[in-house]
């Protein structure tokens, strides 16, 4: 059956867009390549201390439950859009779905499959879930190698492998690109020692650790006593080709720092920054509070290396006369947002990339330049969770306008 909108990407933007469209009576199909919906946000921790820190991560759960209940939204996980062609005003999409899965009702977490799987990461527990998933990308079957070791060993018969992709052809009247962002790859910044220097992690990894519970459970062994955050790793950095602010990282790091301080008051926290960007309404008060128990240093470190005992050492110049070499148990690289290639199959005249490499949009912020194709969320530029939702609402309004017009034959 023809859907009105094909939403590519089932992250917070795609889900909130589907919900808004559904409220406006517009049907949609969300195609998500991972075996679950939610995108990056599904790995983010709730940053509430005693009170909510307005990070917006819990919005995902809210939208997931709403979208699951909505009648006119189809959810397709483990799926990719294989081809996309113009068909008059409409589009024809070929969606490939390979839904190998572990049936959670049957699975008893014995772990046998994990032991026998020949590919690391092909079976995995995401941070947000106690259930086991099969990665479409890593499972051997996805590259055409027949393998059913896990299915054979499972005493519960919980593994359902789907070797061949199911092809689903759909016709849609509009397309929304909600493919989100990629985190900046900090291995490009060799000076910062990731992942060579033990204890150097990214802000996304820290978020995921805190989501799962605590430092011990994240195979860190011990709870760190001191943590440093390095801001602007891959942001505001023309040398790395990112001549823009990623907008979210100050908020993320300060919230993470406050969350850590709340859970582990004894951990010493330091944030290295360039400029602190406003991220909420009572920003002055938030910043004052944060500054009272977090050490803020305006400096970009030159180097992070491992000291004799294997701890990360940060070399920086804080403004005193001499350079400092500070030892931490953990250093968090607050990585920026960089464009992700949406890999839109098929070519559509008018689509473009903006100065920073994100999908271009016209003045209204969501028209991607080709009639019927829209872009929303971090695919269009760095955005916080709430900004992604706002952008999705904007996209919903423009999609509705577009559909109204095409229906009237304009």
């Amino acid at each position: 059956m023809k859907k009105e909108t094909l939403i590519i990407g089932g992250g917070i933007t795609g889900l909130s867009l589907a919900w808004e469209l559904s409220c406006l009576g517009i049907s949609s199909t969300i195609v998500e390549k991972a075996p679950f919906m939610g995108g990056h946000v599904s790995n983010f921790a709730c940053k509430a201390t005693q009170t909510c820190q307005k990070c917006g991560a819990c919005q995902l759960e809210d939208y997931l439950s709403k979208v699951h209940k909505a009648e006119n939204v189809d959810l397709m996980v483990s799926s990719t859009v294989d081809s996309l062609t113009q068909n008059g005003r409409d589009f024809k999409a070929m969606i490939l779905q390979r839904k190998s899965m572990i049936v959670s009702d049957k699975c008893d977490d014995c772990g046998l499959c994990l032991k026998v799987c020949p590919v690391e990461g092909a079976l995995f527990y995401p941070a947000f879930d106690s259930r086991l998933y099969i990665s479409n990308e890593k499972c051997l079957n996805s590259i055409g190698v027949h393998c059913e070791i896990c299915a054979q060993i499972c005493p519960q018969g919980a593994v359902e492998l789907q070797e061949k992709s199911r092809e689903v052809e759909t016709e849609v009247a509009s397309i929304a690109i909600c493919t989100g962002f990629s985190p900046y790859d900090p291995t490009q910044k060799l000076k910062f020692g990731y992942p060579r220097v033990p204890g150097v992690i990214t802000s996304l990894e820290l978020d995921s650790i805190l989501r799962t519970g605590n430092f011990q459970s994240a195979a860190f062994g011990e709870t760190p006593k001191s943590i440093a955050f390095i801001q602007c790793v891959g942001s505001r950095d023309p040398r790395s080709g990112t001549n823009y602010c990623s907008q979210i990282c100050c908020g993320v790091s300060i919230r993470l720092a406050r969350l850590i301080k709340n859970r582990y008051p004894d951990i010493n926290l330091t944030i290295f920054y360039m400029d602190i960007q406003t991220f909420e309404r009572e920003f002055d008060r938030t910043l004052d509070r944060a500054q009272s128990d977090i050490n803020f240093i305006r400096a970009m470190p030159s180097e992070i290396h491992s000291d004799e005992d294997g701890f990360p050492r940060v070399v920086y110049h804080g403004g005193d006369e001499t350079r400092q070499m500070a030892l931490f148990d953990m250093v968090v690289l607050s990585v920026g947002i960089v464009p992700r290639d949406p890999d839109l199959p098929g070519s559509f005249p008018g689509l473009w990339k903006n100065r920073d490499g994100f999908i271009g949009s016209d003045d209204n912020g969501v028209d991607a330049g080709h009639p019927g194709i829209f872009v929303a969320g971090a695919a269009q530029g760095p955005k916080s969770i709430s900004a992604c939702v706002s952008h999705a609402i904007l996209a919903a309004s423009q999609i509705k306008r577009y559909l109204d017009r095409t229906m009237r034959g304009e």
Binding site: K191, C232, R236, D237, P238, R239, S240, M274, R298, A299, M300, P301, S302, E303, V315, Y316, H317, G318, G319, E321, T322, R323
Partner: protein, 172 residues
């Protein structure tokens, strides 16, 4: 500590430095101090501090920069340049500043000497019979000077002022 009056500084200076070959990046600096943290000289001699030199140039402290002896302390290791997120290419900026100093303020005597040697012999060291005999002994071909090209190539130096405070400069 006497106050520096910004009104008396030279706002044109930063543009002058930026116009020199290699100086282009200077004005992109946003003061993150990574350069100083990466500099191997600064911990040894506080007078040489990349962020401060950039800052002084940006503020138009022309005299204080060009007539200083610290600008000659850069070892050209490119440490600062490699860590700069804004692509200031500070090693090259230092050369631009030194070039300006050479034009209108002062040159350490050692460098002047090097230049005259170069102009005279086409190389930093005069090659005499002694050197070539030594080479011959170990089985190496002789070195022949081609100084004539350098007379054409390098113009005569116009400005040569004594820095007046060259305590740290000495010939090697």
């Amino acid at each position: 500590m006497p106050k520096i009056n910004l009104n008396e500084l030279d706002p044109e200076f930063k543009h002058r430095v930026a116009e020199q070959p290699g100086g282009e990046g200077l004005k992109a600096c946003f003061g993150c101090k990574a350069c100083t943290a990466a500099c191997p000289i600064q911990p040894i001699d506080k007078r040489y501090d990349p962020r401060k030199i950039i800052r002084m140039a940006l503020l138009g402290m022309k005299k204080q920069v060009l007539e200083s002896d610290f600008i000659w302390l850069c070892s050209s290791c490119y440490g600062c340049q490699e860590v700069c997120p804004q692509n200031v290419r500070f090693t090259e900026v230092m050369y631009a500043i030194k070039n300006l100093a050479a034009q209108e303020a002062c040159i350490p005597p050692g460098l002047t000497a090097q230049r005259s040697l170069l102009k005279k012999h086409g190389r930093l060291y005069e090659v005499g019979e002694f050197e070539n005999e030594k080479r011959l002994k170990i089985g190496l071909p002789p070195i022949i000077e081609h100084a004539e090209d350098f007379d054409v190539l390098l113009p005569d130096q116009t400005v040569e002022k004594d820095p007046g405070h060259s305590s740290t400069f000495h010939n090697s």
